[in-house]
């Protein structure tokens, strides 16, 4: 990170903290299959025209292009914030087409998906330069110390941008949000089930508080 860009980010963060801007561009980040698109779909269904972001699938890397929805107004805790939401492809450090074949895709389909997934990861990384904050979606049944989580959190801390951890999949019996909280105690965390909508109002309050 260069001297000028570091200074600009510090200045932007300082200005934002003073003027508390009420419109923010936030990105949904996380590893593949953490439930980013399920959450994005729920947010626009609750607060917008109901048109969904995209399809969801048990096969990893279903979202391979970043999708954006502008002007989603969230009212919570007596305040409102207008969000531009960017649902990003799952971040990964490796992509092997054979992993997709295990889900029943043909070799040709799997290779195509792998190629598009690598492009999706690059696009997700590019978006990091153009956001006001991040919702980091974690699967609360998984180990939180994945490199994707560590890298996204490190980048948001270095850029001094707000980050809210969403501990998703609380509907599953082995969910453990306390493990996530213990791993990253310095950041706010909200446990939810994006699929069932449980605790979703607490998430909206946290969004209004952290990004407003």
């Amino acid at each position: 990170m260069g001297f000028i860009s570091g200074f600009k980010r510090s200045l932007d963060a300082w200005i934002n903290s003073i003027f508390k801007k009420k419109r923010a561009k936030i990105g949904l980040y996380g590893p593949p299959n953490a439930g980013k698109t399920t959450l994005a779909n729920r947010i626009v269904r609750d607060w917008s025209d109901g048109e969904s972001f995209g399809s969801v699938s048990p096969i990893p890397h279903e979202t391979r292009r970043a999708m954006r929805k502008e002007g989603v107004m969230i009212n919570a805790n007596g305040s409102s914030i207008e969000l531009d939401i960017v649902d990003t492809p799952g971040m990964a450090t490796k992509i092997d087409f054979k992993e997709f074949m295990a889900f029943g895709l043909s070799e040709q389909e799997a290779k195509k998906r792998a190629k598009e997934a690598t492009e999706g990861v690059i696009e997700a990384i590019k978006w990091l330069d153009d956001l006001d904050g991040v919702l980091l979606v974690m699967d609360s049944t998984e180990d939180p110390y994945t490199q994707v989580n560590v890298t996204v959190i490190g980048n948001m801390e270095a850029r001094k941008l707000p980050l809210l951890i969403v501990a998703n999949k609380m509907d599953l019996p082995n969910a453990s949000p306390s493990r996530i909280k213990a791993a990253f105690p310095q950041h706010a965390m909200v446990p939810i089930s994006a699929l069932e909508g449980s605790n979703i109002d607490d998430l909206y309050k946290a969004i209004a508080h952290n990004f407003g």
Binding site: G6, V150, G154, N155, A158, F184
Partner: protein, 114 residues
């Protein structure tokens, strides 16, 4: 396995570090960086890795580092340069696998001859 000292890393640019890592990992080596990478260098490494993935040749990297630490002078803090990288292990995705990781320890399994 190559263990790269913090002193050597300090004298390299971000791009030099990323190229060094990928060149070694693509030939099957495991790289251990004493002082790790900055968060920005980590995402650039992932980005570059994605551009170099090839079917049946290179499926990507396994990278493990500890959560970054805040330290440095007031001047560093002022300009957002106080996030320091920590020990990092990087290897080919088909040879290095993380068994367990927490704030203080990374356990990995290395397969040889895959």
């Amino acid at each position: 396995m190559d263990l790269v000292s913090g002193e050597k890393l300090e004298n390299m640019t971000s791009m030099e570090k990323i190229r060094l890592i990928l060149d070694k990992v693509k030939t099957g080596r495991i790289v251990v960086l004493e002082s790790g990478l900055t968060p920005d260098e980590e995402v650039r490494l992932i980005e570059m890795t994605m551009t170099e993935i090839r079917v049946d040749e290179f499926s990507g990297i396994e990278i493990e580092s500890y959560p970054s630490k805040k330290e440095g002078s007031l001047f560093d803090k002022l300009f957002g340069r106080n996030i320091k990288g920590r020990l990092t292990v990087i290897g080919p995705a088909n040879q290095l696998r993380t068994i367990e990781k927490d704030k203080y320890q990374i356990s990995t399994k290395v397969s040889v001859g895959d």
